[in-house]
């Protein structure tokens, strides 16, 4: 930001004042809402208080009627009826407050660098809660139903949908061990130790029995995905550590659910037998596998549905959201692990949905998920702060202090012990630094609080809640704030900036196949072997079923390449202003890598270097002009499909036509794609090259060309660029029936038109292709 610091400070302090006024306003409105009815009882803000609304409405109606029986009332020009909109009004106000807070933090640069956002939000929650309490009203508490049904799913879906699958699968074993064994260890260790602590004389904790302690242990032992995400997102550590801690926080949900229900059931019964323990194990398997199956089922449904949405692009994102939410709710119906179901649904759906939906839908999904998860996270932390102020507390020094200490100790011990075992099976071992980060990153959060809130035994509930809140505060504040400097101090590897290199992608694939081959030669079925088998199964059966059209057979490398080209094209469009093309680091172009072969005759006469420079200048100048002109084109010029990135495509098309009228020196004529009306799009490589692709009018992300499935031998290269263009022209000249048979009529017509233009321009500028020429790039410079 090129804003002067004084301005920022001035504006930020003004902003803060506004914020403070705003929070006061929020609390006052809460109060106002309360006092508007004749009933004096309080209700929770965000519970759907329809009943109360009706009651209040009734009261005002009777009041009105009693008035009218006395005298004719004057027609009210302006009246105040707050109850009518009370609930949505307050909800919106809270959300607005949360978002304004978030906005405020990012305006103040110094604070947001030191303190993670989650801490700040909790502090805001504390403030708001304090204000509300000072006014004397009852503050809203983080209702468990609200939390689990509305606030948590968006965050988990966002995490699951964008989960880096590759890293997740590679480290699946480690993650599972940490999640299952680690959480079990934590729960039992904390529970057991707390029970021992409770036996200490003088702590007044005598009535806490073992089962309650175990219950408490199971609540507090789970690493929380919300808190982990909030903190880890800001420190950008390497993917391995990120996925380890984050994956653990997601997968331990099943363990937590089972342990919680187990101990809660039995805390009423009083004893646990071996049979119960065995049932618990079975329950764990059912909960986790059942959750995953439910998720997969909905994921496949979602993928299958997206296959048919090519005519209703607008509602595509909704399918993704609704199927995922249904997966979560369905799992919750059976007390299966909703989080695992949601993750499984997102993971299952994503590759197929992304192949089917349009680019705009993809962007919509991405941004809506980010938006909802951001709002949810903010609200969760603020409510955590408010609930801290509001809730009944029973502070017991011994209990709380020991809880915090024992939690830390158990986490460290657990991580060290498990890593020792895991490293025997891992190829890339976890170093001490990694272990430290994994242990230190085990943050507790709102899930623990909500679970504690759901406890029914009020006697110890308050004490437990206090301890839980203290642990949460400790982990989020102390660990959250210090993890960033520690990461710097320990020089932990950061996330590497990947620019989507095609070479890396090629080598990733190459390496996959290579390692699979070596494993086969070695004779044991390892990780790569199974992955390869899964991929092949996926390609032969699943993709055909779930992906529409030709995309189902597209190999991964090609889709990656297309994505990359698309990205570059968009970048060039967005860098937009005609005056400067994006500055390029290198001026290497294709001609530098094509082998010059003196034996091949050049098809077109050579052009001197100066002339070439001239031509380039002319082309560039005209490009800029056409770009400026195109900006003013109205929507009516856009073609059939209004839901695509048509502006850039039209712009490109016009530019291409312009270009073709001049020198066809750098152009390529694209291969075609056997779908509906094609749209041409020009993609500019830095400075020299110009690609042109025909894209399908409704292709996802404006996908680029399908290379032509014809014999590559009949190629004679005319231009610098690939042979695709010539193929088409040569084949067309030859009247290849194979080609014709495969294209649609209107497509062909359009192509023919453009083709005439190209041919014309070619004839004007140079002789036709020399049919004796063979193979690859013969050209000049």
């Amino acid at each position: 930001m090129a804003v002067s610091p004084q301005f920022v400070r001035g504006s930020s302090s003004a902003f803060l004042t506004c914020l403070l006024l705003f929070t006061t306003f929020v609390s006052v409105s809460v109060v106002a809402g309360e006092n508007n009815g004749t009933w004096g009882d309080r209700s929770r803000v965000l519970q759907v208080a329809e009943k109360k609304g009706e009651e209040v409405a009734d009261s005002s109606v009777t009041h009105h009627q009693s008035n009218s029986s006395e005298h004719k009332k004057v027609f009210p020009v302006l009246s105040f009826n707050y109850d009518h909109v009370r609930t949505p009004f307050e909800i919106s106000l809270w959300i607005l407050l949360a978002l304004l807070m978030k906005l405020g933090f990012h305006i103040i640069p110094r604070v947001s660098n030191v303190v993670p956002e989650s801490c700040l939000l909790i502090v805001v929650g504390l403030l708001v809660g304090g204000i509300i309490k000072a006014i004397g009203e009852e503050a809203p508490v983080l209702d468990a139903k609200l939390f689990f049904l509305y606030l948590l799913p968006p965050i988990i879906l966002d995490a699951g949908y964008f989960l880096p699958i590759r890293h997740f699968m590679e480290n699946m074993g480690t993650i599972l061990v940490f999640a299952v064994v680690g959480t079990l260890w934590n729960a039992f260790f904390v529970g057991g130790m707390m029970y021992a602590v409770c036996q200490i004389e003088g702590a007044q904790l005598g009535e806490v029995d073992l089962l309650s302690c175990l219950l408490f242990g199971s609540i507090i032992s789970a690493v929380d995905p919300v808190a982990v995400l909030a903190v880890f997102e800001e420190i950008h550590i390497n993917e391995l550590l990120h996925i380890l801690v984050f994956g653990e926080s997601l997968l331990n949900d099943a363990v937590t659910v089972v342990l919680y229900h187990l101990f809660e059931e039995f805390s009423h019964a009083g004893t646990v037998t071996i049979g119960d323990a065995l049932l618990g194990v079975v329950c764990f398997l059912v909960v986790s596998l059942g959750g995953i199956l439910v998720g997969f089922f909905y994921g496949i449904l979602g993928a299958f549905t997206s296959r048919f949405t090519s005519h209703t692009r607008v509602i595509e994102p909704l399918f993704v959201f609704l199927y995922s939410y249904m997966a979560y709710l369905s799992a919750e119906v059976f007390h299966l692990s909703g989080i695992m179901s949601l993750i499984a649904c997102g993971v299952m759906m994503r590759p197929y949905v992304e192949a089917n939906i349009s680019h705009k839908s993809y962007t919509t999904i991405k941004y809506f998920l980010k938006m909802w998860s951001s709002v949810s996270e903010t609200l969760i932390f603020i409510f955590l702060g408010v609930s801290t102020v509001a809730g009944p507390h029973a502070w017991n020094w011994t209990f709380v202090v020991f809880t915090v200490v024992i939690c830390l100790v158990s986490r460290v011990l657990g991580v060290i012990g498990l890593t020792y075992v895991i490293n025997k099976f891992r190829i890339v071992k976890l170093t001490k630094k990694d272990q430290f980060i994994v242990a230190y990153g085990g943050l507790r959060g709102a899930i623990a609080f909500s679970l504690g809130f759901l406890l029914t035994n009020s006697q110890m509930k308050n004490m437990f809640l206090t301890a839980i809140i203290t642990v949460i505060f400790f982990t989020v504040f102390v660990q959250g704030m210090t993890i960033r400097p520690l990461v710097e101090l320990l020089a932990v590897k950061k996330k590497k900036e990947s620019k989507g290199s095609i070479n890396e992608e090629i080598h990733t694939q190459f390496l996959d196949h290579l390692l699979t081959g070596i494993e086969d030669i070695c004779g044991h079925y390892g990780h790569h072997h199974w992955k390869d088998k899964l991929n092949r199964f996926n390609k032969t059966y699943v993709k055909r079923l779930l992906i529409a059209g030709d995309r189902s057979t597209e190999p991964q490398l090609i889709s990656f390449y297309n994505k990359l080209e698309m990205k570059q094209a968009m970048m060039l469009v967005e860098s937009g202003s005609a005056a400067k093309l994006p500055t390029v680091v290198s001026s290497v172009s294709v001609q530098n890598i094509q082998p010059k072969d003196s034996t091949r005759r050049r098809a077109i006469p050579s052009i001197s270097k100066s002339r070439e420079q001239e031509i380039r200048k002319i082309l560039r100048a005209n490009l800029q002009k056409t770009r400026q002109r195109l900006r003013s084109y109205s929507r009516h010029d856009l073609m059939m499909d209004p839901f695509e990135d048509n502006l850039s495509e039209v712009r490109f098309r016009k530019q291409r036509v312009e270009m073709e009228r001049r020198m066809s020196h750098y152009l390529t004529v694209p291969a075609n794609r056997q779908e509906t009306t094609p749209v041409r799009k020009v993609c500019f490589e830095p400075e020299h090259k110009v690609f042109t692709y025909i894209t399908d009018g409704e292709s996802p992300k404006g996908r680029t060309s399908r290379p032509h499935p014809s014999s590559p031998d009949a190629v004679s290269l005319l231009y610098e660029e690939s042979q695709r263009d010539n193929q088409r022209s040569v084949l067309r000249a030859k009247g290849d029936t194979e080609l014709r048979a495969k294209t649609l009529d209107n497509q062909e017509q359009q192509e023919q038109q453009e083709e005439e233009q190209v041919k014309l321009s070619r004839c004007l500028s140079d002789p036709g292709p020399n049919k004796d020429e063979e193979g690859d790039g013969s050209f000049h410079s």
Binding site: L511, H513, D520, P707
Partner: protein, 216 residues
């Protein structure tokens, strides 16, 4: 080495273990596999590799098999190909896929990376001239996409072109229009895949116990 003894004779293995870094158990397992593949002969030939059924659907099978018979991978600084290999060379080629040990200095890690990248480079550079030319790179990409039929062939060319362009941009920076980039040398290759962290990726697990009972 000389005649292959039974597994209990560790005298031979000490040498091999030192040379390749495998443990005795791992060498034993691999030895058993070697004998299984070669039908108890002394040496392996290409057709022995072709008999492995799982390898048949691998798109880069030819290159993988070729790598075993490539003398550049024997760490003897020699070149050319052989027609049959004995156990020692088999083991040496396999040792390229051994995971690096936990505590390595930066220099050691760099060496490991170099070695693995060298293996990959040799796989691409089929005519052994020290550079990967555009043709060779195209061939690599074509093989990768070979399963997609003729569809892949055209895109393979443009993908390879784009990749080559990237290498040239990274390695050479600025080039005049009439300069020609001959091919990827090993140094360029190393620079290109620097961020790839190949030393943690190009590994497979060599078990100490024999788990090959089910596979052929």
């Amino acid at each position: 080495m000389g005649a292959l003894q039974s597994q209990s004779d560790h005298h031979e293995y000490v040498d091999l273990a030192q040379k390749t870094g495998f443990s005795f158990e791992q060498i034993g397992v691999l030895h058993k596999r070697f004998k299984q593949l070669s039908h108890d002969e002394e040496t392996l030939r290409r057709d022995h590799f072709n008999e492995i059924p799982d390898l048949a659907c691998n798109p880069i099978r030819a290159q993988i098999i070729g790598a075993f018979f490539d003398r550049r991978n024997y760490r003897q600084n020699s070149e050319g190909t052989v027609e049959e290999i004995d156990f020692e060379n088999f083991l040496v080629v396999m040792s390229h896929f051994r995971p690096p040990s936990l505590h390595l200095t930066e220099e050691q890690r760099d060496n490991v990376r170099r070695e693995k990248l060298r293996f990959l480079f040799n796989m691409h550079d089929t005519d052994n001239d020290g550079t990967i030319t555009l043709e060779e790179y195209r061939h690599v990409v074509e093989e990768l996409l070979s399963r997609s039929g003729a569809l892949g062939k055209e895109t393979a060319k443009s993908i390879a072109d784009a990749a080559m362009l990237e290498v040239a941009s990274i390695s050479m920076g600025h080039m005049e229009p009439d300069e020609f980039y001959e091919g990827i040398t090993f140094e360029h290759f190393f620079k290109l895949l620097k961020g790839f962290e190949i030393e943690s990726k190009m590994n497979i697990h060599f078990w100490n116990m024999d788990t090959s009972t089910l596979c052929k």
